[in-house]
Subunit: 186 residues, 2 copies
């Protein structure tokens, strides 16, 4: 028997995720969510007081996974191996969440939530640092920003191939962007 | 003597652009714009009936410039030279509009406007085609998507260098992503 409270909570997260996908986070109101689910707004308030609390619930599993990927990449020896591991992990995460990730990246509301939760902001900053590590200074920063935003957006392409092919292309392009291809020795 | 009507129109576009920057397009209402300018909503309606009409006025000069860049790139001989010209032009456009471009890319409202205006959608599609041209099939598509979204986002970085340095880094990383570096001959 499922717990009815937790079921409503999960349905709320699912419906919010769908509406975020089609209307962006800023374009989604709690009213739209309650209309879609056919429940009252006070039933929503029992679980989430604001849209941002719902957004945090949507982001939570992604950030938890990202933290694992950051830890795995950090455990590699050398800046190039770390950048490579972070790239591969992030590309796989993006492909596995290909309808959601493109909507969340660059969204103003997501940026605000990430900035307001220091632990989450730290995970994203560490991811950038790992991706940037294979090249010095501003070149590293620019490469990391291109790879992170670029992959987040490219997985949203309406592509003909399989997810595995998409993943291979993302990793291959990402390695070139980060200056990893064919330069295994520093 | 400036025409008061055109001045109000320009101020509306400026204020809307600022609010789009700080709140995203979906997070900006005509009410917020009228509050910011201290004018009535009916004064806004005289110029723009909806937020999307205002958004179109913000996008118009960028799309006009993009069309010029697409034409220049298309005039180059060979797919690699075309991709290279498109990359350089787009990177310069992004750097010149570095506080605005990161907000517009990936915004759901911008995507809807682009899809609804066929001529504009065609310019963006042609830009993607030119960027993708240096590599076959899905590799080209993925590289083009990474470069377009990646550059749009990376110009928003809080960087220490000059705009010229940023432009050089974007072009250098973009060329690697598109498979252009060191492979001038097909």
């Amino acid at each position: 028997m499922s717990d009815p409270a937790s079921t409503t909570r999960e349905r709320l997260i699912d419906v919010a995720t769908d509406l975020f996908r089609s209307h962006s986070v800023a374009g989604t109101s709690l009213q739209m969510i309650s209309d879609e689910l056919g429940i009252t707004k006070s039933a929503i308030y029992y679980h989430f007081r604001t849209r941002d609390e719902l957004l945090e619930a949507v982001l939570e599993p992604l950030i938890t996974k990202l933290q694992e990927l950051v830890d795995e990449a950090s455990a590699q020896r050398g800046a190039r191996a770390q950048a490579d591991a972070m790239l591969r992990g992030f590309a796989a995460l993006a492909v596995a969440n290909r309808t959601l990730i493109p909507v969340l990246t660059g969204d103003a509301a997501v940026g605000q939530v990430l900035r307001s939760r220091q632990a989450w902001a730290a995970v994203v900053a560490r991811q950038m640092e790992l991706l940037a590590g294979a090249q010095p200074g501003m070149a590293g920063q620019v490469g990391a920003a291109i790879v992170m935003s670029g992959i987040s957006s490219a997985v949203g392409l309406d592509y003909a191939g399989t997810d595995e092919q998409m993943l291979e292309h993302l990793i291959s392009a990402g390695r070139r962007t980060l200056g990893l291809r064919g330069q295994r020795v520093r």
